[in-house]
Symmetry: D2
Subunit: 388 residues, 4 copies
């Protein structure tokens, strides 16, 4: 690990903590071709960003992201701020010759995402790479799902069903955070969690969505203001002032894929009792597989060739032969949510060192963005079929 | 049990066997106000119907259903034939003053279903009753779900998700049975199994679907002919002649309910590995519940008042206090598929004896029929939102 | 089905209802070589037995079991009374040339069981057969487990773990029924439910237990008297008179099998929340399987040849190729507790008709009885290893 | 975090990697009263230990653990070597005034464990603390189990059933590692994994085991030598030389607890398909709970007060109110195996800073050691009941 890769990160809330852990942990469990340094953290508030840098292990801090990009000692910009800032930062960083890791969804609009993708394409010619942080791709069980599909084990796929069910907005007095403000977040459950299952479904299935018919719903039209705009939740005051929720609370759509499969998607934060049920199921002509993040170390696999004694089997994705897991613990000793971020760093650093495009690229993420846009268009247009 | 109720049944395939078992078994485990007699069985082939009558325990047989209706010693007509015959038989029976139990879906079109409902309304004035066989309502776990919703335990319902997943048509050489012929069955997965989840969802939720946006798909366009047109499946010859599949293989739709809930529905016989996954989940503001027929004696219930130690709990619906189960075995000794038919007989006989309308009525079933029609209309019309 | 088999049954509580259902149902779903007639039911109270005969479908009733045995029109005696009466009745019946189906455990002592086995051996020479009702052997999932082991799929077996967990005695005021009186029931959880897992384990593993080390425990030493001595439970009065519980509430033992496997067994009615968790798991050198009656239509199977993508798979034991299930419903449409009794009748009638010994024979059941006795001996003797 | 705590660790295999991660990660997610420094790592091979120090993040390395203890800049010795070295190192460290964290089982004999406990008691008077690394206590779901029992939610406990099932020795050609050599490991499955469930059961139940009756079994008597003696497994050569396995492959025992509960325990590395099934179930008079590490972020809880609609509920132990989880991710975003080690560091550092005895103390671990010894004694003595 002779050469180093100096990282500057912007934002230090939920995603910032996850990314910091990943940069810190990846070289301890994996052999990386470049040694990442946690060089600088950027945020607006000088005291808070300095405290966060100390806590999370960054060597220095900046209060302006532009300054971070200007620093010669930074090789890579890691963007962990709300979606309305992604385009400006990512494009500036790429133009400055910095690699970029950008949280998902890529942007708040297709237009922004297209500009970012163009910037990424341009930078790539100079050996500068951009990656979008659809981290679930690096959850070992989903990575094994992808491997099984790619191996042909499922045969042609007929059905995709994907759900991302959470319940943290069920309470009508949960506060009006930035995630409920369309100007900051772009959309609600659709972009926040729906984007994850769209990316996962397209990636695992190896085929893109070509059209959708959708409905969106906002169950709670206004919520208490004054809550923490950074964190995920918290409970505001029921009696205080309220502001309008300008995003969807739930998104549901049917879909068709380029290879002939049909799909059903649902994303919501109101499925009481479902905490992080990020689920993908595929039914092929030869086999099926099902994943649920609430049992994240398992992949359920049904192989029709075993009939009549076939059945969905729970593969504990902790074997040395499974994706990523050989670098961790003995079999059966499960991993957690944050490991996907560590694996993301591993793959990103590996791609940069070898001069290959890391995935998902901005172009991949743009494809997700277009589905998000099509869902919104269909929902605004009597659910009419909308092609991508 | 002084008075008797003489039953004449038409059809003796899958449904006929289930109904026969129910008529035979109900009085052995439940105290019925009328004693059902298995008086006569009707079918077209004289030898086969006579053999079936002996096997299934019917006292006599007829080769013309009209003759069954004419017989004075028959009080109730039980219709277990394909949907294209429902309307004619049911209307004739009701006009002849016979009670009717008709298998689902009620008919092959809304028009037929409306005529049947009108006939049922007219007959009711004379104390003659009609019931549609949405048997899953009498699965104890679903009946408990209904009871919990009715008690207010869930609060207002926001999400309904319902799936009916089977896989017996995955094989492209499965034969072209009557269930794949639109002129006989009306539709494919939509009417066969989709109807069940539409009825179950509306009934448990206590609210009707007001609009849908749908897609239908036929994966396998033609199949071997010559197979058994009575049974459920069997494997035809891959090399022989083929005929067109004229129904949907899969139906998917989003929905809105009268009370503000949103729903996602999917019915298919191509979900490899899912054998009889008839699933209904409801998320309310206070609690959620989930059912899957592949674990049919359980109901999963999440009660938010138990937070932070809440969790979906698996209620084994076998307690004496649960619907129907007190008449069977000790707790934990599960019931099977056919018990719902026995419970259906219990409730039907009870309603007739007490002069009350049994449920689901033909009007209830007509409501399902209208949803089926709206799904087809939407699917033919670019998935456009279609109201009911 | 030209010839008939006339059955006389003794006892009409929980087991009597299950056996009646089986005699009534078996010929409707299976082709039997002899037609069973439900000829007579015996019990002590004339009014109650007559009412039970009518309810359960028996043609006549008797108030003395000896009279039943004397009747020339009876071919088979079905014994559904507490264990203290098994030996006398079964031996008398066999000596009178009647086939016998006797509920489990075979007897209340090894001595009685040996006498019964001797009587069965003697009768067999005259074509008269005896069978013990370890009904769980005919639960399709357990029968498939046996088939898999017999096929060699598991390789040599190293571990057996079996549990039978119920909770209906958790309440200290549950009444003192006959099952808690050693003079009537022989033992408590040990003979009632422990016997089932001993038989199932030995049968599925294909090897007998050769020694045990045990502890027994009675948590609640006395209970309210005056409750129903026939039924399974019910709640007596907390303030009324109490009588001593003379049986074990829980039995736990380690075991060794003739083929080198080791085992752990536990039976209790105090495992709060476990309703009928009759569980058997076997670990071989090549595969493992696990069964839990609380999900009775499933068998979990792990095949090491699939590693690294192996996992316990949930086989829904409802395929036409599976034991017994082809005579019932389409795949995925589960069976219930009572179906095992119907299958027991099917196999018993088949064995009688073909002149073969039905299984489990009294000799098989005697082997279970010896394990029960060894458990008691070990428990009384500082858990010392006790051979069988 | 003004003051620091300088740590020296001995050993860098499986446990060393886990402990290193914990020391590195704890201060990033928790506010610690002392700042841990990863000062030095000790191992025998100079090159390997230096490489490991770099990889795992230790500032320096030593080739003699005695030298580590002599260093003035070390405050705490973390012992991650096989059990035969525990006593000597721990006692030397404590006598040198260093705090000690010692991996489990505490020692290879009761005698050693007693000496260690005496040393710990002596050191405690000087404010020097010793802790044994039964890390599973800090798995959030088990910590919640403990909290529930302590709150009285279960009432008096009647049943404990604990299993630790793995399968990595199923293959007869798995190599003869140090874990299979009694002189190094003390015992086999008993001390390696049985110790975990003994500690967990006693801790969660809040009561100690007072007697046992046991059997031990070694299925594979000799194995290939020459494999890696440090790692967990690997496959040696089937054709090469073999050496004797001198430990148990499986341990099974019944137990009684001081509070009247009865228990059944099983530990094995031959339960094919069970990868890390560390399971504890408790049945009380009011509630039950069940844990399985193969679904490590869940705790199953049955509350009888909810009957007849009670059921085991799957609590996802990821709420902010749950033990440790509030410092990590949003609800539903599960943790992994290594988090328990991080929590162990958090609690150890907290205890040292506040001058309180960390738990489990060496005295707690001695209690486990005595159970291990009693199991061996009973197994050698015809399973006779052996008190502790």
């Amino acid at each position: 690990m002779s050469e180093s890769l100096n990282v500057g990160m912007i934002g230090y809330a939920f995603m910032g903590a996850a990314h910091s852990h990943a940069w810190r942990t990846a070289p301890r469990f994996f052999d990386l071709p470049l040694a990442p340094n946690m060089t600088a953290l950027a945020g607006r508030d000088p005291e808070r960003v300095a405290a966060a840098a100390t806590k999370l292990g960054w060597d220095s801090s900046e209060t302006d992201w532009r300054r971070l990009i200007e620093r010669d000692d930074i090789d890579l910009i890691d963007i962990c701020v709300p979606g309305n800032l992604h385009a400006e930062i990512a494009i500036a960083a790429l133009e400055a010759g910095k690699h970029v890791l950008c949280e998902k969804p890529l942007a708040n609009s297709v237009e922004e995402a297209e500009q970012m993708t163009a910037a990424a394409e341009a930078a790539k010619a100079d050996g500068v790479y951009a990656m979008c942080g659809f981290s679930y791709r690096r959850t070992p069980a989903l990575a094994l799902a992808k491997r099984l599909v790619d191996s042909g084990a499922l045969g042609p796929i007929r059905h995709v069903r994907a759900q991302y069910l959470q319940d943290w907005l069920t309470d009508e007095n949960a506060p009006l955070t930035w995630r409920l403000d369309k100007s900051l977040s772009g959309s609600g459950s659709l972009g926040d969690i729906g984007a994850h299952i769209i990316d996962a479904a397209q990636w695992v299935a190896g085929s893109n969505i070509t059209g959708v018919s959708a409905i969106l719903e906002t169950f709670v039209k206004e919520r208490p203001v004054g809550g923490d705009f950074v964190g995920l939740g918290g409970v505001g005051g029921a009696d205080g002032p309220k502001g309008p929720v300008t995003v969807d609370d739930a998104a549901m759509f049917t879909a068709r894929f380029g290879d002939g499969a049909v799909g059903v998607f649902e994303a919501t934060r109101f499925a009481l009792g479902r905490k992080n049920a990020m689920r993908v199921e595929l039914n092929g002509t030869k086999a099926s597989l099902a994943f649920d993040f609430e049992d994240m170390n398992s992949l359920w696999f049904y192989d029709a060739s075993e009939e009549p004694n076939a059945g969905f089997r729970r593969i504990q994705v902790t074997e040395p032969e499974h994706p990523y897991t050989g670098n961790w613990w003995p079999v059966g000793h499960g991993l957690g949510y944050e490991h996907a971020f560590t694996h993301q760093v591993v793959d990103l650093v590996g791609a940069i060192a070898s001069g290959e495009q890391p995935t998902p690229s901005f172009a991949d993420a743009l494809r997700v963005q277009k589905v998000l846009a099509a869902v919104e268009t269909s929902a605004e247009n009597e659910s009419r079929w909308t092609t991508i």
